[in-house]
């Protein structure tokens, strides 16, 4: 039969290799999103993550305090499942001027008969306020180890930036206390 010639075989190798590389690229992209996501959140202050920008705050001149405004800062703390502790802020809320250096304390107590390591994870709402919330020192910077029945007052020293938006008059700092992972990250 004259017409039974199959079309000449095409080579697909290059196209297939390119497509496999594309799939591999996006597999890697999934993992690259982990650091990208963190730096994105830090850059724009999304996600309620606060800054650990002690140096900038220290260098801020005292005149940066804005005495014409008052802010209310509330503190809350919750325990995540698996952590047999008790925690509460010693001051549920404080009033301050933007730019003012303040310290507040949280009381924490180990209710169990074992030594337990905990880790506090902070979050600020409204989230846009997070990047104006500068912590100079915080118990959340390290893990906390409590002996059986031990109680402890933990300090947090912070500044709310003087240039925080006019629309914000109230903000909340919430701590979630976790049982620290077995092998420190």
């Amino acid at each position: 039969m004259p017409g039974t010639s199959l079309p000449p075989p095409r080579r697909h190798g290059r196209l297939v290799a390119r497509l496999i590389v594309l799939a591999g690229f996006f597999f890697a992209f999934g993992f690259a999103l982990v650091p990208l996501y963190d730096s994105f959140c830090e850059a724009v202050g999304f996600n309620g993550k606060t800054l650990k920008d002690a140096l900038a705050a220290n260098n801020a001149p005292p005149s940066a305090i804005n005495y014409s405004r008052k802010l209310s800062v509330q503190f809350t703390a919750t325990l995540m499942p698996g952590l047999p502790w008790e925690i509460r802020p010693l001051e549920p809320a404080i009033e301050l001027h933007p730019g003012e250096l303040r310290t507040t304390r949280f009381l924490v107590r180990n209710l169990s008969d074992q030594t337990i390591v905990g880790q506090a994870v902070p979050s600020v709402s409204p989230t846009v306020a997070a990047r104006h919330f500068r912590k100079l020192d915080c118990f959340c910077f390290t893990q906390q180890t409590l002996a059986p029945g031990e109680s402890r007052e933990m300090a947090l020293t912070f500044i709310v930036d003087g240039d925080i938006g006019e629309e914000i008059s109230e903000l909340t700092l919430a701590y979630a206390f976790f049982l620290a992972p077995k092998d420190p990250a």
């Binding site: 697909h12 196209l15 297939v16 799939a23 996006f26 999934g30 999103l33 996501y37 880790q119 049982l179």
Partner: protein, 533 residues
């Protein structure tokens, strides 16, 4: 499986193939593999359907009657995974395997062995997904994945062995889909008949081209996400553990970066086949071929950047919410182009309503409801109320059952005579359509009202005021489930025999696939056709 003999008997057919089961294990023929994909899909459609009927039976009345809440949670999650990955996606791949070589004038797919491998990865994955149910009967583990199909951390980090089974099933299904996509792209780009430029390529092929690219971009990200989940569970990493410096919201980003394009992955092949059906039964050419191609591309691109609307209540900041709202709503523009093209194709046509056309018109109406309710959910202010309610459940079933599965049924009825060489029973087909469309609305329309009234999804028990709508929905779902047996029977009958189908099958068909015999010869296009203007 008697189709085998028909395809083999075609002119120029090979006879040196093994017979029986070995033939199906080793086949590299695009039509055999397409048949296997479609058969597997139909089987899993009933498996996933049986699961959700058990769920609907539990929800018939308030209170817990039939099962423990843990088992209920397993059923809803595995139902979704089975329907999406093992029923809807393989059905679309089966269509691609069967039709793409016929439509573009190729003898077979570009990479036939890869094609075979892609299919045979599916059954092990389906077994992995459902095996934990069986293992639990023997006291091993606590059943299948119970997190819902979204596998949100930290719940999935804490879950039982079912989560590990689901993770590996997703890995395997992902590899299978990526292989299928590579094959389809290679076929479409390299094996078109001379004269068939990309813009002249049939719309079904275009829908699949965009789908395949989306799969290759997004599935690896999901694979990465569930791999992180696996290492969080077993190897001491803290990707999603806040105490270790991770972030559970990150999982939602990774999941929905895949999950939203997945909706278009499921729907683009259907949008591609719709114009062919509408044009055939309106006896008019497809309206707006180029416009539809660019709409597919636009939806594919936009679909990649709107994933955040799935978790607007997770605490996203206002600028991000606004971005995801506006970008999501903008997808309705290219989608509206598709709707207008479908309607314009039918406009003033000599329409007749055979079963595929009934399904196509039903699809347009019901899928329109899915699109409009989707606009409601995209609204940040409204979403705050409707998120995680039955309104969402109803919305995505209008999208994925009426849009996806009824779309697949459209294709099955449209192409079945081409595949088997026989006409199916038109009477049974029409009965199946009317039962499906009525019971579908009976099942899911009440769920919109339940959602508006505040009933949350994924709960085995509910407050008394939701009782009536739930009872109606359950009755509807059982009619819907049982009427699918008609579908299976009609297909079976058509495979066994029936009135001979002509090459063109329908009166108004256009395109290369209708020039071949029904069923087509073993090597579809032995002589490459040339497209002249």
């Amino acid at each position: 499986m008697n189709t085998a003999t028909h395809t083999l008997d075609g002119p120029g057919g090979h006879t040196h193939q093994p017979g029986g089961l070995l033939r199906w294990l080793t086949t590299t023929n695009h039509k055999d593999i397409g048949t296997m994909y479609l058969s597997f899909s139909l089987l899993m459609f009933f498996v996933g359907g049986a699961m959700i009927l058990a769920v609907r039976a539990e929800l018939f009345q308030p209170g817990l009657q039939l099962m423990r809440p843990e088992f209920f949670n397993q059923l809803i999650g595995v139902h979704a995974l089975v329907m999406i990955f093992a029923a809807l996606m393989p059905a679309a791949t089966g269509f691609a395997n069967w039709m793409i070589p016929l439509m573009i004038g190729a003898p077979d797919m570009a990479l036939p062995r890869l094609n075979n491998w892609g299919f045979w990865l599916l059954p092990p994955a389906a077994i992995l997904l459902t095996l934990p149910f069986v293992l639990a009967l023997f006291g091993i583990g606590d059943g299948a994945v119970a997190t819902g199909w979204t596998l949100y951390a930290p719940l999935s980090v804490q879950g039982g062995i079912g989560v590990d089974f689901a993770i590996f099933a997703i890995h395997i299904l992902g590899i299978s889909s990526i292989m299928g996509s590579i094959n389809i792209i290679a076929t479409l780009l390299n094996m078109r008949a001379p004269g068939m430029t990309l813009m002249r390529m049939p719309l079904f092929c275009w829908g699949w081209l965009v789908t395949a690219v989306l799969l290759i971009i997004t599935l690896p990200v999901l694979a990465g996400g569930v791999t992180m989940l696996l290492t969080d569970r077993h190897f001491g990493t803290h990707f999603f553990d806040a105490a270790g410096g991770g972030d559970p919201i990150l999982f939602q980003h990774l999941f929905w970066f895949f999950g939203h394009p997945e909706v278009y992955i499921l729907l683009l092949p259907v949008w591609g086949l719709m114009p062919h059906v509408l044009s055939t039964f309106s006896r008019k050419p497809i309206y707006g071929h180029t416009g539809q191609v660019w709409s597919f591309v636009a939806i594919g691109v936009l679909g990649l950047v709107v994933w955040g609307h799935h978790f607007m209540t997770a605490g996203l900041p206002v600028p991000a919410l606004l971005y995801f709202m506006y970008s999501t709503m903008s997808i309705s523009l290219p989608l509206a182009v598709l709707f207008f093209c479908w309607i314009a194709t039918m406009w003033r046509g000599a329409m007749s309503f055979e079963t595929p056309m009934l399904f196509a018109v039903g699809f347009i109406v019901l899928f329109g409801i899915a699109g409009l309710t989707g606009l409601v959910l995209a609204d940040v202010a409204a979403d705050a109320q409707y998120h995680h309610s039955y309104f969402v459940v109803a919305h995505f079933h209008y999208a994925l059952f009426a849009g996806g599965i009824m779309g697949v049924m459209t294709g099955v009825y449209y192409w079945l005579p081409k595949w088997t060489g026989h006409m199916y029973s038109e009477k049974l087909g029409k009965l199946h359509f009317w039962l499906t469309v009525i019971s579908f609305n009976l099942t899911f329309m009440p769920q919109f009202f339940l959602g508006l009234a505040g009933m949350p999804r994924r709960i085995p028990d509910y407050a008394l005021q939701f009782a009536e709508f739930n009872a109606i929905s359950t009755v509807g779902s059982f009619v819907l489930g049982l009427s699918q047996l008609l579908f299976a029977y009609n297909i079976w009958r058509c495979i066994k025999g029936g009135e001979k189908a002509s090459n063109g099958v329908w009166e108004g068909t256009r395109g290369l696939e209708w020039e071949l015999s029904s069923p087509p010869p073993h090597h579809s296009w032995e002589t490459q056709p040339v497209i002249k203007d």
